[in-house]
């Protein structure tokens, strides 16, 4: 169930979402996750736990990897937000998506958008990560299906592929 918000007055929030300027009318404490999913129809970010443990709702906020379930929408005012839907042009996406498919990094798929965003964020900082870097970089994103092994392999493969280009 969503937190009760009816007492707070709605306010206008302006931000850039996937490169486009957007304005929404929302309760200031409404979760960014809900605004993205319900008001903007960007359902790639998923709710897994609602308390910042699982990372399924990961988005990039001014380049930082954040759990959108923990961000009150008022806090995102003026920010630039990128969701999985806005990542297709990123040069890391294709190698990561292909590697996830080839290595079996996506099973049920519910953690996958967040996991791929976390992987992009990691590879931007560390283009040639060691296994420990990958483990650390993805530690905020839970996966119950894979045991992470295939995800590590996919990230490693994508990094190598990009390095070879």
């Amino acid at each position: 169930m969503s937190p009760p918000l009816e007492k707070a007055a709605k306010c206008e929030v302006s931000f850039i979402v996937n490169g486009e300027a957007k304005k929404v009318l929302a309760h200031p404490m409404e979760r960014l996750l809900d605004v993205l999913r319900n008001d903007l129809g960007l359902t790639g970010a998923k709710e897994g736990c609602g308390e910042g443990e699982c990372g399924s709702c990961s988005v990039l906020l001014d380049g930082m990897l954040v759990n959108s379930c923990l961000i009150p929408v008022a806090q995102a005012n003026g920010a630039s937000i990128v969701t999985i839907e806005g990542m297709s042009a990123h040069d890391l996406m294709k190698p990561l998506q292909e590697a996830f498919l080839e290595c079996g990094g996506a099973q049920c798929g519910i953690c996958t958008p967040g996991m791929i965003l976390a992987a992009v964020h990691l590879l931007e900082k560390k283009p040639e990560p060691a296994l420990a870097d990958i483990q650390e970089g993805l530690a905020g994103n839970l996966c119950r299906c894979t045991g992470y092994m295939q995800i590590f392999e996919a990230v490693t493969r994508a990094a190598r592929q990009r390095a070879a280009q």
């Binding site: 736990c49 699982c54 297709s88 080839e102 049920c108 045991g147």
Partner: protein
Amino acid sequence: MTVRHIVGASVPRKEGWDKVTGAARYVDDMVLPGMLYGATVRSTIARGKIKKITFGPGIAWKEYVVVSAKDIPGKNCIALILDDQPCLAADSVNHPEEPILLLAHADRHKLRKAVDAVAIEYEPLPPVHTIEESEQKSTIIWGADNTFKNFLVEKGDVDAVWKEAAHVVEGEYFTGAQEQLYIENNGMIAAYDAEHGVTVWGSLQCPYYVHKALMTLFALSEEKVRVVQMETGGAFGGKEEYPSMIAGHAALLAMKSGRPVKIIYDRTEDMVATTKRHPSRTRHRTAVSKDGKILGGEIEFAIDGGAYATLSSVVLSRGTIHAGGPYYWPSVRIRTKAVATNSPPHGAFRGFGAPQSLFAMERHMDRIAQVVGISPIEIRRRNFLKPGKTTTTEQTIRENIDLHHLLDRALELSNYAAKKKRFEEENKTATRKKGIGIAAFLHGAGFTGSGERYLNSLVGVEATADGSVRVLVSSAEFGQGTNTVLCQITAEALGLPYESVAIAQPDTTVVPNSGPTVASRTAMIVGKLVQSAAQGIKQALTKTDLLSDDYTPQQFRDACREYIATHGALKSLARYEAPADVFWDDEKYRGEAYAAFAWAVYVAEVTVDLTTYSVTVDDFVALQEVGKVINPVLAAGQITGGVAQGIGFTLYEKVVWQNGCMMNNQMTNYIMPTSVDLPPIRVFFEELGNVHGAHGAKGIGELPMDGPAPAILNAIEDATGVRFCAIPLLPEDLLDALGSESPELDVSSLARGSP
């Protein structure tokens, strides 16, 4: 006919691209016009009578749709096996979080306060919270004796073996509840109208279970109930039976309001209210010869089923049949029971009773080895089942399995002997003690006993005029690879490229009932039927001389077009036929329990830190014989995921109970393994084949859940010399045991938690 060997190739996951782009549609991603949101008012006590329901002040109740048991048009139950679980409690409650009322409102944010504003007065009744309290029967909470089901397996003359025995080895073993913790919470959307009846879209494993439950709940005929499975974000058994409850709730609200209703649980509600793995207790008393041969034994296996029967009898059955492990028992008596307690019903979870009884068996084997004075390796070698020998249910092993070879290979892959020697030496001075342990086990594929016969599954394959082929099954994809594997089998059977085969979204108006997506049955049983249905398409085309035996995809397309122009449609169905040599006696619990077993030897290497009392698993070798591996990448993913979940079951995941209610129902305090917690999980397959499975496949999904717990506890004992008999085993449990002076302390009670 150039496309070959799609089976055995790691083709990409059928729905993979949608998943890696975020385009895949899960139930919470779906919105219907005019949709309301639903919420559930639940009991706050474990057991009692409902005296009074008050709708408190401060809520505009007129805006809400309210549903109670009185609004149920059919039978107030979740139809499954015994139909004892109400959809909504009417007069009494039998567990905390039992659904009593349903509310719906157009504004999601207005639900929580309203749920909290409903005050329910109870007349409390004494609850029962443990297996021990339940079996004392001083308070009867279910049926005549608190017992959902008993099984008795008897082989040979157990009573005669005790006097021959050189050793009688006893042990008692416990496993805790475990949350499935799929990352996508449970959810459903329902719509209702008088003409079409009920439609639900949801996150689920078994479309026809939900279908049956809704027919009963609404007293509707089968064509008036439609169930559609959306992309499902993990299940692990946790979406086998409970989705029927949520579907019923959403549909009742939809009927009363006349609008579509969405119910999505948040994590806390999902964890506190839905099913978990059955807690268990296993007692072994084993007669062993001087040289370490099992002569016979008694095994008592008990599981805590929670407040209603749900699937406990079937979970108990699988646990019963697996209780003897991969060993030859000349005689055995296995007495098992599923008992009632006042907690939410425990339910299906990967392994389904087998991880519990195999944990006990494999810990007990190490104990027997100690008593006899031989190694954990040798005790297993001396007792392994082999071709021609019979299992505890007197099923003769017909396949050519060589467990000695499997064990040898696992020892080699894990470098067992060298490590064992090195750890013994280093442990003399280290405060970080290292150990290595093994577990050998088996897992039956498909429904137990006569189960597949009763399921009587039906599948279809259809071709269209443009030569595209579609698989029609109710078997659901929830990450394990159903879509991909069944398309591979079909493509292989038809000699077509993988890309030209699709699979229908499970929708009960479109797909036949191929049974539930459970019990490691999809690749083996459903796969074989799909193979047969696909061959039917080919036969239809060759018999009508539209196609020769050797053809190109283009010729196949042309033939389909011509066939459909003449006959209207090209569809082939295949129904399960029980193999003639698979016989099961439900009365005596004897016979061919499973058409095939998968076999495995797992090796775990651990470090026990005596400063922090933490255990880390440093290396994990998972070697298994699973018949033909249809898709190596997906198969390996099943094993690594299962092992990770098994490591969680063993070392991290503790359900803290209070008055029958889970207290740590958050990801913050119920801890599953993260990316930094796991060892390299090294997966190896052997492929003996299996005459009962598609291309020789066996079941694989549940198997990896069975081995980690005993292998890790065996390794911890190897490291510390302390015999732990209960999981989960958390650092505080190790501290309690290792911090004390007596290594013989009975630590079992410490790690069990207190329900």
